[in-house]
């Protein structure tokens, strides 16, 4: 694949819930190493877009191409594609019946077929990276929200994905824990990970984003560099939205 081909390409995607269009003519190219931040009011389709990229939702029209594969083609093995797409959820969704370490090693051992020892070694390194090595043997219910979310990021990274999708990773957290999670995400961005983040943490967006996307009512209304986005927003609805959240 040529270097200037997008790693994710959303082409004229539509998604309907009855009468409501959750996605409406959405087109978006994301290149390897890029950090894209998606913002928009509640119900604007941000989660739907993100979840369509790993086919947790299926679009009704259009195409989504991930790493050269149209993921909605019949016969596509979505499970192997998802292995390249790490996802972090608002509510962490750690596996409560597994220890922190097992949460990290389960998928690599089962799906990547690596040995338990190798998976454990890698998991411990990742836990160190997200600053939570001391909790390897703990069960998720004993961790704080911020700790759980850092473990969830490490769990996604344990599959060595090419792309990381974040759906409001800090909005379920107490304010004092947001920073520790954002730090992990900033570090990940510095290492060159391709990241698509739905977040309203504007400080993070300014620091990390290569590109900002504003969605409203299922459409992408504006796209641009953070500087432009925050200082010279063009679309009136983006201006209004920024006024509300800043």
């Amino acid at each position: 694949m040529s270097a200037n081909q997008p790693i994710i390409s959303v082409r004229k995607a539509y998604k309907f819930y009855g009468q409501l269009s959750a996605l409406s003519d959405v087109s978006l190219d994301i290149f390897s190493g890029e950090k894209v931040v998606i913002i928009g009011p509640s119900g604007s389709g941000k989660s739907t877009l993100l979840r369509s990229i790993n086919r947790l939702e299926t679009i009704d029209m259009g195409n989504i191409i991930v790493d050269g594969v149209d993921i909605n083609e019949p016969g596509v093995n979505i499970n192997t594609i998802r292995q390249e797409l790490g996802m972090v959820f608002q509510n962490f969704n750690l596996f409560p019946h597994k220890t922190v370490l097992e949460n990290l090693t389960m998928a690599p051992i089962t799906l990547r077929k690596i040995s338990g020892a190798e998976a454990t070694g890698m998991a411990l390194e990742l836990l160190q990276k997200v600053n939570i090595s001391d909790k390897a043997a703990a069960y998720p219910s004993t961790l704080s929200g911020g700790q759980q979310q850092r473990v969830a990021i490490a769990r996604a990274l344990a599959m060595s994905p090419k792309i990381m999708l974040f759906d409001e990773p800090t909005s379920a957290l107490d304010p004092e824990m947001i920073g520790e999670v954002l730090d992990v995400m900033v570090n990940l961005a510095r290492e060159g990970m391709t990241m698509v983040c739905v977040t309203h943490e504007m400080g993070f967006a300014r620091e990390v984003a290569d590109r900002m996307i504003f969605m409203d009512k299922g459409e992408i209304l504006e796209e641009g560099r953070p500087a432009h986005f925050f200082d010279n927003p063009r679309h009136p609805r983006l201006q209004k939205f920024l006024k509300q959240i800043l």
């Binding site: 947790l56 499970n79 996802m87 959820f89 069960y139 219910s141 769990r155």
Partner: protein, 261 residues
């Protein structure tokens, strides 16, 4: 539908499962259990004839009762799992098949199902009493367990399967490694209740000339005309067995909760 289901899980006709966290010495369970054991021991020691003799006489009935119950549970658990999955499935034919099965079975009394299998079909296929009993009880309880499995599986938050699928696990791996290990905690107590209810319901098969506890007791009483003593003993034996089983379920439940804070 979902309301009546919720009630089914909390209230059951089986013996109540003791709360594993209840560390007190005097509970409804301990009173009943101590009382039943004491009564049994006293009766057997001080009135050896007929009670001790009777207990020996019905002991092979206890084996038969357990045999039927265990076989029926071994069949009804996978049947219940498949039924529960069918009831949750988006595949219409599978869903409809499971729902119809539950609807039909729940509408027919177990005793009628037993008669149908044993006297109705059994005469054509030469079905013995024990196989007929096991089949009837498995199908009957499989339908109830289908509802328990369905409720238990749908009680696992949706985010769990989304997290597993987003890591790349397929449907079967997600079910086996993520959903079921969590669903067991909700499923086990009502399954335990079903197990106990099933053990008690096996007494119905004594009508099919199967030599279970009740049938053996009835035989003994018919021989010596001591109905009062016999059915007192039978009641005690059932009570002790169900109380022991409910304690066992309670221990299992506690072990399954290991990851809760």
């Amino acid at each position: 539908m979902s309301n009546s289901l919720r009630v089914r899980i909390e209230i059951s006709d089986g013996a109540s499962i003791p709360d594993p966290k209840d560390r007190r010495l005097i509970t409804a369970w301990s009173i009943s259990f101590a009382g039943a054991i004491l009564a049994l021991v006293l009766l057997c020691v001080f009135r050896e004839d007929p009670f001790w003799l009777m207990l020996q006489f019905i002991s092979d009935g206890v084996v038969v009762t357990f045999e039927i119950t265990i076989l029926a549970i071994l069949v009804s658990i996978p049947l219940g799992l498949i039924t529960g999955l069918g009831r949750l499935s988006g595949i219409r034919a599978f869903n409809l098949l499971a729902s119809t099965y539950v609807e039909v079975i729940r509408g027919i009394p177990l005793l009628v199902q037993l008669f149908f299998l044993y006297y109705g079909l059994g005469k054509f296929f030469g079905l013995g009493g024990i196989p007929a009993a096991v089949i009837a009880m498995s199908f009957c309880y499989g339908a109830y367990m289908g509802e328990v499995f369905r409720a238990g599986i749908s009680a696992v938050p949706k985010g769990q399967s989304e997290a597993a699928r987003s890591l790349g696990f397929n449907k079967a791996q997600t079910l086996l490694m993520v959903i079921m290990p969590q669903a067991w905690r909700t499923i086990l107590p009502p399954i335990g209740n079903e197990f106990i209810a099933m053990l008690k319901d096996t007494s119905l098969v004594s009508i099919l000339a199967v030599a279970d506890i009740l049938r053996r007791g009835t035989e003994y009483a018919g021989r010596y005309f001591n109905y009062f003593e016999t059915y007192t003993l039978i009641a005690l034996v059932y009570l002790i067995i169900t109380l022991l089983l409910s304690k066992g379920v309670s221990f299992m439940e506690a072990r399954l909760n290991y990851y809760e804070r």
